[in-house]
Amino acid sequence: MTITLYDFELSGNCYKLRLLMSILNLPYDIVPVDFFPGREHKSDAFLRLNPFGQLPVLRDDDLVLSDSGAILAYLAIKYDASGLWFPDDPATTAEVLRWHAVADDITSTSSAARLALGYDYKFDIEKSQQGAHRIFRLMDEHLWFGEKAGRDWLCSPAHPTTADIACFPYVMLSEEGGISRQDYPALRRWTDRVRRIPGFVVMSGIFPAGPARAE
């Protein structure tokens, strides 16, 4: 197997895959795509890989995949022998996919605000920010009651899943879109927990957390 990631270093959606592959200890090659300012993801060559013209794209031998959530599921099902990252159970699968969808909503709000502020994109900044706040409020509430019930992650299992990986990057990068997380203390604590997952890696703008309690 040879995995190749078509990657842009500052993309949170590409980072999701780097993060899971690092946690799963999967070797892969990187092909850098000049998303900004080169707009290479709209080039003919790239559109042949992904007609939707979006990063990330992942190639595994001859198989070419796009959409970060779909690729997270693929990698976990295929390469995570523990079966923990994308659990094979109907109810849990539905739960994980539900949060993959939230992750896309976070991309279209928090990431859009960031692209508008830092990358010259013509998105409605205020609307994007408000949309992100609406999602973060719900996530904070979900995670706060989760903590009270002894649940540390977005889904019910007692361990993280691809749902946590999918939602993490653009929560963490929200300040770059002018979206403060001050009002979401439980969301902030969850980002500490994600950053303490063994194999965690950073990207620009995402700092490591301090060590967890030694058991």
Binding site: E141, P185, R188, R189, D192, G210
Partner: protein, 569 residues
């Protein structure tokens, strides 16, 4: 009533549960952003949310347990004092001036963390606080003016049972006490306390969460119809350019502070531990690993003792005193006559033995009572999960001091007891090995041991900058061959200091009263500000940077390189 930046009321700013192990919470009160973190010892710190260096938010920093480390350039600040303990860009320097972040008052009570904009009011629990055990509701942030939120809460009350408005934006309603945290002119957080009762807590919490969420939505809709209030404009004290880089040299102030001997115990045969605490229960000044204090003894002598504490451990200092050295009149008085409950005076901590925290290999070598500064260093490295090895040599029949403190360290701690001289030499040789980049050794112990380690290190190719040690006694031969004039600026006199006499002696002969103690350039008592002229430093009290600054000197041993010195006396 508009919000005021100087509102002295105490408000809840977080729940106790918001501060789990090694987390940094981001809060805000009356426009001021806060970084709030619980140290491993349980103490909750409420600080201004900016690193003094470049203004980066400390809430994205790393809670190392007893110190908070800024993500940007790694400045570290101590639990309790918020004093800066380390500047990575100047790893070999001890910040001579005290750099302290801004702190706010803090109380932890009823499951909430409380703070205030200033110290003007004492914390007073809300009326009826003592009647129950309380638990905190899920806090609900609201984008609306705090006073409108108070009014909205009050309107939740049924007509026949009006809400009880309490001081400090609090409302008692149907057994629940709600507090409105004034975040800013247009933002608030509703916090609530509920008496502990039977019933499923999650169901209860969900019920109130729903109630408050509905209220929040109503308040936010109303707020959106009004012009947004101007946010408060807290004045951040501007960080001066020199504070943002390396602290300049400050003249050690010579201030003393009273401390209470809280505990005196035998930590090993012949080694007495003293725990010295502030008299008001407040924390003592920030110190860095390797620092010492001057202890003013009842018989008028001044002696130096290293602080053994770990990071952010500022409620008392623990020092170790060797009982046997009766010759040094100082220790004898301490050991024989000072009791628990006595009050002594100490200086602020000083550091001539700074620890780098960027080494790939740190070797700590202690001989006998020399363990004290190295114990502190080991504790700092331990807390930051940095690698180190500690080698502690004790004489035969001598037991290891601070054994239980050493036992809880995670690094490589080796106690070598009763080795003969050659065996010690062999061990030191082996332990040091050839020098590599970013290797540093720190040694403290008897003169002979210091000499052996520095000689061995040099022979193995260790550069001087990698070998760190500290003197408490001035063993250098004083060169008193120079002759020069001293002008005493405030006393309006000029004196000649001939070869063979000290500045101190000449000043006394001229009728001046000047304080001194050890008269060998070790204790710091005769420290004097230099206004002009070039100093010939011969003391072991000032550190390299302080000496190079040419702004102060010890008149008991140091002299002039120039023909004339002008002193602030």
């Amino acid at each position: 009533m508009p919000l005021s930046l100087s509102d002295p009321h105490w408000y809840p700013i977080a729940s106790s549960d918001d501060l789990p192990f090694r987390h940094v919470y981001q809060g805000q009160l009356l426009g001021r952003e806060l970084a709030v973190w619980r140290a491993d010892d349980g103490h909750v710190n409420v600080w201004e949310n900016r690193c003094l260096h470049r203004g980066v938010r400390l809430s994205i920093g790393i809670n190392e347990g007893q110190e908070l480390k800024c993500q940007y350039h790694g400045w570290r600040y101590a639990n309790q004092s918020a004093g800066c303990t380390y500047i990575p860009a100047h790893p070999a320097d001890a910040p001579a001036r005290r750099i302290e972040n801004r702190k706010y008052p803090m109380r932890e009570a009823f499951g909430l963390i409380w703070s205030a904009a200033n110290d003007d009011q004492a914390f007073v629990p809300f009326p009826g606080a003592g009647d129950h055990d309380w638990f905190a509701l899920r806090p609900v942030p609201v984008n609306a003016a705090p006073e409108d939120v108070v009014a909205g809460l009050a309107r939740l009350a049924p007509d026949d049972q009006p809400a009880d408005l309490l001081p400090g934006m609090a409302v008692r309603l149907d057994g629940v006490v709600y507090f409105v945290q004034p975040v800013d002119a247009g933002r608030a957080v509703i916090r609530g306390l509920l008496p502990q009762a039977s019933g499923d807590p999650i169901t209860i919490l969900r019920h109130y969460n729903e109630l408050l969420t509905r209220l929040r939505d109503r308040l936010e809709r109303a707020a959106a119809r009004k012009p947004a209030p101007e946010p408060l404009q807290p004045a951040y004290e501007k960080v001066s350019a020199d504070l943002a880089t390396m602290p300049e040299i400050a003249i050690p102030r010579g201030n003393t502070l009273p401390v209470l001997v809280r505990r005196k115990w035998q930590t090993a045969d012949g080694v007495i531990g003293f725990e010295l605490a502030g008299r008001d229960g407040k924390h003592l000044p920030t110190f860095q690993p390797g620092a010492h204090i001057d202890l003013h003894l009842p018989n008028g002598l001044i002696r130096q003792y290293s602080i053994t504490n770990g990071p952010g451990d500022l409620l008392s200092y623990v020092i170790g005193v060797k009982a046997e050295s009766a010759s040094k009149g100082g220790s004898k008085v301490l050991v024989e006559t000072v009791r628990e409950g006595d009050v002594l005076a100490i200086s602020e901590p000083r550091n001539n033995f700074p620890l780098r925290r960027d080494a790939t290999r740190t070797v700590l070598i202690a001989g006998g009572i020399g363990i004290t500064p190295l114990l502190s260093m080991a504790r700092f490295l331990d807390q930051s999960s940095l690698p180190y090895e500690l080698h502690y040599f004790t004489r035969s029949g001598e037991s290891a001091a601070f054994k239980s403190e050493l036992d809880v360290l995670h690094g490589a701690v080796h106690i070598h007891s009763g080795l003969a001289r050659e065996a010690i030499q062999g061990t030191v040789n082996e332990v040091l090995g050839p020098h590599d980049f970013a290797n540093h050794v720190y040694v403290c112990g008897p003169g002979a041991m210091l000499e052996m380690v520095t000689r061995t290190a040099a022979a193995l190719g260790w550069p001087d900058e990698a070998v760190h040690f500290e003197y408490f006694q001035n063993d250098k031969v004083i060169d008193s061959s120079s002759a020069f004039d001293v002008e005493l600026a405030r006393s309006a006199m000029t004196l000649h200091v001939p070869a063979g006499r000290t500045i101190l002696e000449v000043m006394r002969e001229a009728g001046l009263t000047v304080p001194s103690s050890c008269e060998q350039g070790a204790c710091g008592t005769c420290l004097t500000t230099v206004m002009e002229g070039e100093v010939d430093h011969q003391d072991v009290y000032l550190n390299k940077t302080e000496k190079a600054s040419n702004t102060c000197m010890m008149t008991c041993v140091s002299r002039a390189k120039s023909a004339r010195l002008v002193l602030d006396i």
